[in-house]
């Protein structure tokens, strides 16, 4: 008769493998920026496209809409471009860049011991308030990102590096909007 102990997995559990790695500090911002810049350059150099994130999420949303209400998608011009007829909204480069970003973030967090279930917030608000604000901020940000045809990745980073005039306008507008409101939201962060 085998003992109970042998049925337990050998070595460390998955949880321990994920979370118990020694935590390493973040790299210097200028080094991080240089690496990000090299990645951005290589993206343009090899593929002709830059980086993107919200575009990938956009196509994910349209996919779900196309499942639930295909007729509706076929009637709205903006959605039609991505998923009209038998077009698959996920059949686009930016979807794979966004999916890769999730994987890359996970691997880096894992190897550097920074996977942690937590909520980062200012000391004066509750966890639930922070969740609500994060959702609200995400919704507002995404609405603006679609209106400006790209987020911080697709407009500010990618368009900034290719010297697109419009992208520089968008970039300064993002900073402007955030700085203009920062004072009124200081209680949520400090």
């Amino acid at each position: 008769m085998t003992s109970l102990a042998t049925t337990k997995p050998k070595g460390r559990s998955l949880k321990a493998r994920l979370f118990n790695r020694p935590e390493k500090p973040y790299v210097n911002p200028y080094l991080g920026g240089t690496l990000l810049g090299i990645v951005l350059f290589l993206a343009f150099f090899i593929t002709g496209n830059g980086l993107g994130a919200s575009g990938g999420l956009n196509r994910f949303v349209v996919l779900i809409q196309d499942w639930i209400a295909p007729q509706h998608v076929n009637r709205v011009a903006y959605l039609l471009k991505m998923a009209g007829g038998d077009k698959n909204p996920l059949d686009d480069w930016v979807v794979f860049v966004a999916a890769g970003a999730i994987l890359g973030g996970f691997f880096s967090g894992w190897l550097n011991g920074r996977l942690k279930v937590e909520t980062n917030k200012g000391p004066n608000i509750s966890v639930h308030t922070r969740w609500g604000l994060a959702f609200l901020g995400g919704a507002i940000m995404a609405y603006g990102a679609r209106m400006a045809r790209g987020c911080t990745s697709g407009q500010a980073l990618s368009g900034g590096a290719t010297l697109s005039a419009g992208s520089w306008v968008v970039m300064f507008a993002i900073f402007g909007g955030a700085y203009a409101l920062a004072y009124f939201l200081r209680k949520t962060w400090y």
């Binding site: 790299v27 991080g32 150099f45 973030g105 980062n120 400006a148 697709g154 992208s167």
Partner: protein
């Protein structure tokens, strides 16, 4: 021919192409995570001057990528015309940007960083990402309410050097200097508001800034390739097509293609305005040879892989020059109308008593017909019916395999 960007789909197939994008995405997520962009409080600190990591990472990334990019184009390794440059929509960009800023300070992330945050199990990152899905959904449902605004104030593919009227190298240098100045200012702010000592930062950053400035100066000296230089590089491979008459299409083929719904024909009439006003093909756009380079940014944004450009002059002289300019600037699928407008009129205006040949044959590339009035495209010959004519010709239009961006940066 400039070797980059690669024709990924032709080289690796669709799965291979998407694998490349996935690997780029992984490197992207990785570099965001190691910079600390998974932590909302760190990102928000940017806007209280306590920790300017966001500014430093973003602008370092932008200037490093920019300097590498324009070095690659200057050396003829990379074709800038095959790079996706976000088109400029002024007001939707400004309003959208301001809204994004508001979302940033409320939520503490941008879409990309929230994905990385979620991937490292931060719950607020997950909520932000959910919020972005919701915001995107709402935008898709409300865009039709302000469609004119969303698609208005459009300036096509406009770059800062074009806007400022400066050479690319000078613009690159100015952007690098501006970024370095902002880094210096940022470090001062961190010292005042965040209690950080700039002296503790590694000195190599100053060396790095120096390298970028030096390369920018070199870019000013080298300059970016001109149309003539680009053509000189292409001439060995492309000139033969001109000589073998592979790109001169018979008027019959043009007429058939106009009626072919699978092909999007864009006709560019490169003669001067006077000739254009006398007579032009219906749907042809006036694009005088002298100003042709001005519309190239627009042509590069023409999306579909099925767009075919047909350039035309009175004979073929100016059209051939236009063909060389467009081909050198990487505009795909350009053809010349064989024999030009004169040949067209030979075929389609023979029964029109209003259009008569000039008594004395004019010089090269001059109109050899006279018209009673400058009616433009209101002559029957400007828009002949396909069914009334039958021609024998060798079809020459072949759609090129696509290379470069699939369009729509963040779209």
């Amino acid at each position: 021919m400039t070797p980059f960007p690669l024709a990924l789909e032709a080289l690796f197939g669709k799965a291979g192409m998407y694998l490349v994008f996935l690997v780029i995405g992984i490197a992207f997520g990785w570099s965001l995570e190691i910079s600390g962009f998974a932590i909302s409080t760190r990102l928000a600190a940017q806007f209280y001057f306590k920790d300017l990591t966001v500014l430093k990472v973003m602008f370092t990334a932008i200037i490093v990528a920019m300097v590498l990019l324009f070095s690659a184009t200057a050396l003829g390794l990379l074709d800038f015309n095959l790079i996706w440059v976000n088109p400029t929509y002024l007001w939707s960009g400004i309003i959208g940007g301001l809204i994004m800023g508001v979302g940033f300070i409320i939520g503490g992330f941008c879409p990309g960083t929230s994905l990385v945050s979620m991937a490292t199990f931060k719950i607020d990152g997950g909520f932000f990402a959910l919020g972005t899905l919701f915001g995107i959904f709402v935008f898709g449902e409300t865009e039709q309410l302000f469609d004119a605004f969303y698609n208005g104030s459009y300036y096509s593919r406009l770059t800062l050097p074009e806007f400022l009227g400066l050479p690319v190298g000078v613009t690159v240098l100015l952007v690098v200097l501006m970024a370095v100045f902002m880094f210096w200012g940022g470090e001062q702010l961190e010292r005042i508001f965040g209690g950080k000592n700039p002296k503790e930062a590694p000195r190599i950053r100053i060396f790095g800034a120096g390298v970028l400035v030096l390369i920018s100066l070199a870019l000013i000296i080298i300059g970016q390739p001109t149309t003539a230089r680009k053509w000189a590089m292409l001439a060995p491979t492309k000139e033969q097509a001109l000589i073998d008459r592979q790109v001169q299409i018979h008027p019959g083929e043009l007429l058939t293609s106009i009626y072919d719904s699978k092909i999007n024909i864009v006709m560019l009439d490169v003669r001067d305005e006077a000739d254009y006003n006398l007579f032009h093909l219906r749907g042809a756009r006036l694009a005088p040879l002298a100003n042709l380079t001005e519309i190239i940014p627009e042509l590069l944004l023409e999306p579909a892989a099925n767009t075919v450009y047909v350039v035309m002059s009175n004979d073929e002289l100016a059209a051939t020059q236009a063909w060389m300019v467009l081909t050198a600037e990487s505009v795909p699928n350009v053809y010349i109308l064989e024999g030009g407008i004169n040949h067209w009129l030979d075929l389609f205006a023979s029964e029109d008593s209003n259009i008569a040949p000039t008594p004395i044959p004019p010089g090269d590339d001059r109109l050899k017909y006279t018209f009673p009035a400058a009616l433009g495209d209101r002559f029957p010959a400007a828009d002949p019916s396909l069914h009334d004519y039958e021609f024998e010709y060798t079809p020459k239009i072949q759609l090129q395999t696509k290379r470069g961006p699939s369009g729509g940066g963040c779209g």
